[in-house]
């Protein structure tokens, strides 16, 4: 880390003075605070990274217009889709036209980029030109759910049943938080470029894990974190007076009770106050130099994907364990040529900027960046767009112990089905946990009489893409 972010100092000072004001039990509190943020397990020797940033391209980006070039598809453009591919397979919105499926050729040009010569679509010029040597493209992803809502649920929780913990919650439960004044799992959303499919809060819910591990949304409008702003007429000082008095009274109560829950309550109020103090600074970009805001293509924390990417870096610097960005705009059932172009324009520059910026700051080595959607899209045309598709899609990962500049796995000649080195969602989870130093088979939580895992009873670690 090149520079210690100013906030860390500020808030620790602040916290010290905050604690000083109360006369009793500071030491007990400090140790308790430490305990409450500690994780359940120590990372093992396979640990290569400490945190994860997921850039979720919600809606299902077409692999065929982004990272998986299929010349054969071009050849067959407009011709009937060979039945051998589609027979007996699940389809979504094309259900009505199952007997009249036509091939749609790639709508964007592909070229080879960088020293590694990775093949990337011209729709993503920044990713292609600036970070192709930093990323590992996976072309052989598969999932189990063909509709948005359950597909996101599956991608986040490894299950199609609601109420299971999301990956960010699992990881925070396992490793604990490194930030003393921010939640360990932060979610940001943006829209634009295509049909913006809804995203449920289930996607960052902690399910049956303790609720402090749920994702907390950082918002661009209204309170940046729900209820973070003081009531009108209450200055930060007055708020602190109130919190101090709450603490005093709680401590008086605890003199006879010695109830750890009260001690925990006191520490949570302190954490809440620290969040109140640190969040405004977090979302204030005024101390970012112009070349950085230009790199991302943002002016301020305005809720765009670009500003969310810059926020992601700021969160990573502050020790947030799991940062998840959703960009809701990749559902291109029609007009996919223009659609991909539009959406890509909103995410391409900032995605590349994030990787470059992390790298520049030495943070990329221990930060895993993941880019991808909940599923891919059909080689078959839906008008001039593509339908949902689960047998093949692409993702990329960078940093955090991932081999840079490689492509892993392959689909068949039409990009219909992953056939070489197939990567299932469970395998992605297993690999991510492995990079964090967590054995996905031993990392369990007992619920309803069963030891649950993020990877259910599956998951293989993709050793070939790990440094």
């Amino acid at each position: 880390m090149k520079q210690l972010p100013a906030t860390k100092m500020d808030t620790s000072l602040l916290r010290r003075s905050f604690l000083k004001r109360s006369s009793i039990g500071s030491a007990a509190l400090m140790s308790l605070l430490k305990d409450s943020s500690a994780g359940m397990i120590k990372p093992n020797e396979s640990a290569k990274c400490k945190r994860v940033i997921v850039l979720c391209m919600a809606g299902g980006p077409s692999h065929l217009e982004t990272f998986d070039y299929k010349p054969k598809l071009e050849e067959l453009d407009g011709k009937p889709m060979p039945k051998s591919f589609t027979e007996g397979q699940q389809i979504a919105q094309l259900q009505g036209q199952a007997n009249n499926l036509k091939v749609l050729g790639p709508q964007h040009q592909f070229k080879k980029y960088g020293k590694s010569g990775q093949e990337i679509s011209a729709a993503l010029p920044n990713i292609a030109n600036k970070i192709s040597d930093d990323i590992c493209i996976i072309r052989s992803m598969q999932t189990e759910q063909i509709n948005h809502d359950p597909a996101h649920t599956f991608m986040n929780t490894g299950s199609i049943i609601s109420g299971r913990p999301s990956m960010g919650s699992w990881i925070n439960y396992g490793l604990g938080s490194e930030s003393g004044n921010l939640p360990g799992f932060v979610v940001l959303t943006s829209v634009g470029g295509g049909q913006s499919q809804p995203i449920a809060a289930r996607q960052w819910h902690s399910g049956f894990l303790p609720s402090q591990h749920q994702g907390v949304r950082l918002r661009s409008k209204g309170d940046p974190v729900l209820y973070i702003n003081n009531p009108k007429g209450v200055t930060p000082d007055r708020q602190k007076d109130v919190i101090d008095t709450i603490k005093n009274l709680n401590m008086i109560g605890n003199q006879t009770l010695k109830d750890p829950e009260i001690a925990a309550r006191i520490s949570q109020y302190e954490m809440a106050f620290r969040m109140q103090m640190s969040v405004p600074e977090l979302v204030d970009f005024s101390n970012e130099p112009k070349h950085i805001t230009d790199l991302y293509g943002t002016k301020g924390a305005d809720g765009t994907f670009a500003s969310n990417c810059l926020l992601a870096r700021r969160l990573a610097e502050r020790g947030v364990r799991f940062i998840q960005l959703y960009h809701r705009g990749w559902d291109h059932h029609g007009g996919i040529k223009k659609g991909v172009e539009h959406t890509a324009k909103l995410v391409d520059q900032a995605s590349a900027a994030l990787v470059l910026d992390l790298k520049e700051r030495g943070l990329l080595d221990d930060t895993l960046v993941v880019w991808g959607g909940e599923f891919g899209r059909t080689p078959m045309a839906q008008g001039n767009g593509r339908d949902h598709h689960i047998k093949a899609f692409s993702m990329w990962m960078a940093g955090g112990g991932i081999k840079p500049g490689i492509t892993y796995g392959a689909t068949d000649e039409l990009g219909y089905s992953a056939e070489k080195d197939i990567v299932h969602v469970h395998d992605f989870h297993a690999t991510m946990l492995n990079l964090l130093g967590i054995d996905h088979e031993k990392f369990t939580y007992r619920y309803q009489g069963r030891d649950f895992r993020l990877t259910d009873v599956h998951g293989k670690i993709l050793k070939d893409i790990i440094i």
């Binding site: 809060a201 049956f208 009531p231």
Partner: protein
């Protein structure tokens, strides 16, 4: 700081060493003297470590070895009485990597004490027991009902040389009773009342009063609604609103009228199949429609039908059986004897429910069958109003025929012109009851058919005196000419549409006389339906008001998703749970085979079996969950799995006693609740001494009461109650409290904005909050209310900064603080700061403030008083939060510092804790 820390650390270390030593002594003491009990000691080890490969799941069984049945285990690897020769022991003690069990690469490892226990157990003869929960509960001993709970608890306590803790202070007991039974704090008056009698008597009285208050049902409903995953939106994708709130009210009412639990079960699972089912029973059957549904374009109907079907199995099995039957969707259960066939046979009970997988355009077209419901409250209210209307006389001079038909003379052919005169002879006319009209005329209550274009009606009425005013009440379709005593009084054109509130027309009293009068009406219609009825009244101002109210109430009918039984869908076993695989065998409805082989065909049969004596699970599951409300944890802490992987109950005999008592009392919920809250165990202090901290840190033995945070809904209720804002209306459509702006921005199809309710609906209890599955109200979410996408039996109790932020900054909390502060400072009886703080403290915490607490609060008050006096703008901003108009006759700079004091009190740990 460093020094302090290390001192603390070593202190901690000593403490833990001490703890471990004491615990060790205890363990040796208790274990050496006791025979190993299979269910308590051995079963958990086998289940957890062995059964995933050597258990009930035939598909995954290794080496064809089963260790979940004594027969097979003793045949193969256990020699009872001889551990050394038993291959099982040889394998678990082996130091050969290829031999050792569980295998070296397996996640599970046996600990040394576990190994020793298995050795001892086999040496003691390897006695086996069926899993406790699969055996029907029986009542141990013949103990008087009122003493049974204490008797069982004390029996265990004696073994450890413990006894119950002392009696809790009375303010604690009343608070405990109030939160447990109503989810609300006690009022100051209730606390005073409680202190009038001895504890025993006071508890009896308070319990009786709380259990019979409508809040009891609201309180009990919260957990039930979690189980049945009741919510106001469809859950998947667009997450749009639907109407199911009548079901919520059904649950509240059922608990309030103490509906026997077997009836409650039958009505929910199969209420629609009850012959001549009442509306209420049909609403109850809406239970079957509460599952998440999807309207996402492009989904496969069949896939989603199978999702819904599996969801129903999970929910019904968890709610009533405490069973994880849902785990057998893809393969036989790994730990319990549920087969994949059991799963799909159970699903088949619900195959008759009319349902599709994909609900296209549900925003407009809805979610299938619905019924119209007027809730009981409204029905009662309407009946009351109608009675009032009767007594003050709807048309007190001449009754109209809304309630009962009044007889008129009538004719369809044009009579001679004298027909309207008082002494006209109408004896040749027909007589019939009004209203007159064609059947099917919208809204009209037709008692005598009239299908032609014209009708003439007349009748007389007597007057003892001529009233000051007179009004004509009339419904006419279409043109009506009305005359009284031969004088034309009204010429009405067109039709009046409202059958509930008749049109009212004032009439000149000069046409009336004492004695006999005659009213005559000619009605003419041109097309469509026809109708005529009329009455006369001397006073309609009250009537009009009441009729308006009745009309409004009638419009409050709500829709409810209905369960409609149709030809059952074919249910197949889906291998690996794959909905695309249609090779599986077709199955019909059946109870899981190891529980019952009884022939069952319908949901009615299922419901009846569930509450039959044959079923060992339901009564236990229910009373165990009830116990959690009153002691903080279940007798078995795992509320959603009573199977092998659940928890051996701390007091199995007590659990069974309660279960049997529950059944034999006629499934009387209030009876069991009464037994619990009137026990001595219940009224203990919750303070734990050093000894208990060590021996029983989790309070399983109940040598004291428990302290725990109240539920999300009750945290809201508490703030509203102590401030006096709470509107205690029971039932109705869901309501929308304040919510941070933009919280719904990630919802789509359609995009929507949240609009908080105005007026009294803003101050309703938390359980009425609009339950948006994908974005549950954040104040509820922060205190662990579940999204209700899935059946939830156990809410966690977290303690997070997000929860702190809600209590600190949620406008509901601020408005409550302000309203309370305002009450206190305008109370003329409270003269000085100290008495004001005392009063506020009492309201919120049910006890007087300690000296140190008083000092701290006074300091805050003084400081903020100074600050706000210099900053009236801030004071105004703070006291203007919320929809309650900001007070005008109060000095806002004086009110604002009191808001700070009130905020402190609402945020205290003790305030949101029941102890």
């Amino acid at each position: 700081m460093l020094i302090l820390n290390s001192i603390q650390f070593s202190f901690q270390k000593i403490f833990y060493l001490l703890l471990i030593t004491i615990a060790a002594i205890l363990v040796t003491e208790s274990k050496a003297s006791e025979i190993i009990a299979f269910n308590r000691d051995v079963r958990p080890i086998l289940a957890d470590n062995c059964w995933s490969c050597h258990g009930p799941d035939a598909g995954n069984r290794k080496a064809k070895l089963r260790l979940d049945k004594r027969e097979s285990a003793t045949k193969e690897v256990i020699i009872p009485g001889n551990a050394n020769e038993s291959p099982l022991i040889q394998r678990i003690l082996s130091d050969d990597d290829d031999e050792i069990m569980p295998p070296k690469d397996h996640r599970k490892k046996l600990t040394a004490p576990q190994k020793k226990l298995l050795v001892d157990w086999i040496n003691q003869g390897a006695k086996w027991q069926d899993h406790w929960a699969w055996i029907r509960p029986i009542r141990m001993g013949d103990i008087p009902k009122e003493k049974a709970i204490d008797w069982f608890l004390l029996k265990e306590l004696k073994k450890k040389n413990l006894k119950f803790s002392e009696l809790a202070p009375s303010h604690t007991i009343i608070r405990r009773l109030s939160f447990d039974l109503r989810g609300l704090p006690p009022t100051t008056e209730e606390i005073k009342e409680f202190q009038k009698y001895d504890t025993e008597e006071s508890i009896k009285r308070a319990a009786k009063s709380f259990i019979s208050s409508p809040s009891f049902g609201e309180r009990m409903a919260v957990h039930w609604l979690d189980l049945v995953r009741y919510a106001d939106t469809n859950g998947y994708h667009a997450d749009i609103e639907w109407s199911v709130s009548p079901y919520r009210d059904y649950v509240i009412n059922a608990f309030n009228k103490n509906m026997p639990f077997d009836q409650f079960t039958l009505e929910q699972i199969a209420g629609d199949l009850i012959p001549n089912a009442s509306t209420e029973q049909k609403v109850a059957a809406g239970y079957n429609r509460l599952n998440m549904k999807s309207t996402e374009f492009g989904i496969q109907d069949k896939e989603y039908l199978s999702k819904y079907s599996a969801d129903r199995v999970r929910t019904t099995a968890t709610t009533w059986l405490g069973a994880t039957l849902g785990c057998a969707e893809c393969h036989d259960h790994k730990f319990d004897p549920f087969s994949i066939r059991d799963f799909y046979s159970f699903a088949a009970f619900f195959a008759d429910i009319k349902s599709v997988g994909y609900y296209p355009d549900a925003q407009k077209k809805g979610w299938g069958e619905t019924i119209e419901v007027i809730d009981q409250n409204t029905i009662t209210k309407i009946a009351e109003l109608e009675n009032t209307l009767k007594s003050i006389g709807p048309s007190n001079i001449l009754k109209d025929s809304r309630k009962e038909g009044n007889t008129w003379q009538y004719i369809f052919n044009k009579p001679n012109p004298e027909w309207k005169l008082p002494d006209y002879d109408d004896s040749k006319w027909n007589s019939g009851e009004a209203g007159f009209g064609s059947l099917g005329t919208p809204n009209g209550k037709v008692r005598t058919e009239w299908n032609s274009s014209d009708i003439w009606i007349r009748r007389d009425f007597d007057l003892k005196e001529v009233p000051e005013k007179i009004f004509l009440l009339i419904q006419h379709d279409e043109d009506a000419t009305v005359s009284i005593n031969g004088n034309n009084v009204e010429n009405l054109k067109g039709y009046s549409t409202d059958s509930e509130a008749y049109a009212v027309h004032g009439i000149d009293t000069k046409h009336l006389k004492i004695g006999k009068n005659v009213i005559a009406i000619h009605c003419h219609q041109t097309s469509g339906g026809q109708f005529i009825d009329a009455g006369l009244s001397s006073d309609v101002t009250a009537n009009i008001e009441i009729e308006k109210q009745i009309k409004e109430l009638r419009q409050q009918n709500r829709k409810m998703l209905a369960t409609v039984s149709v030809e059952p869908r074919t249910v197949r076993i889906l291998p690996r749970g794959d909905w695309m695989d249609s090779t599986g065998e077709i199955v019909g409805p059946a109870i899981p085979q190891f529980l019952s082989k009884k022939e069952t065909r319908s949901r009615t049969d299922l419901a009846k079996w569930i509450t039959s004596k044959e079923n060992p699970l339901t009564a236990r599951v229910f009373v165990n969950r009830l116990w959690k409300i009153f002691f903080g944890n279940g007798i078995s802490r795992v509320l959603d799995d009573i199977g092998s992987q659940g928890e051996w109950p701390s007091h199995p005999e007590l659990l069974d006693w309660l279960a049997v008592e529950f059944m034999e009392s006629g499934w009387d919920v209030k009876h069991v609740v009464n037994l619990i809250v009137n026990s001595k165990a219940y009224r203990q202090s919750s303070l734990r001494n050093e000894r208990l901290k060590v021996i029983d840190p989790e309070n399983r033995l109940i040598a004291r009461q428990s302290r725990f945070r109240i539920e999300a809904e009750f945290i809201r209720d508490n703030a509203l109650a102590v401030s006096g804002l709470l509107v205690k209306k029971v039932g109705g459509s869901s309501v929308k409290p304040y919510q941070p702006g933009g919280y719904w921005e990630n919802l789509n199809f359609p995009r929507r904005t949240y609009k908080a309710d105005d007026g009294s609906d803003q101050y309703r209890r938390g359980l009425y909050t609009h339950w948006q599955r994908q974005f549950l109200h954040p104040a509820l979410l922060a205190f662990d209310a579940p999204s209700r996408e899935e059946c939830t039996a156990n809410r966690p109790r977290s303690n997070t900064p997000l929860a702190a932020l809600v209590l600190l900054n949620d406008p509901t909390q601020i408005e409550s603080a302000r309203t309370m502060a305002q009450k206190i400072i305008t109370d003329p009886a409270l003269k000085d700061d100290e008495s004001k703080i005392s009063s506020m403290f009492m309201r919120v915490l049910s006890r007087p403030a300690l000296g140190s607490e008083m000092t701290s609060l006074k300091q805050l008050l003084e400081k903020h008083r100074k600050e706000f006096s210099k900053d009236p703008k801030s004071a105004n901003e703070l006291v203007s939060i919320g929809q309650q108009p900001s007070p005008e006759n109060v000095d806002q700079t004086e009110l604002a510092p009191w808001v700070s004091v009130a905020r402190v009190l609402l945020n205290l740990h003790e305030t949101i804790t029941r102890n």
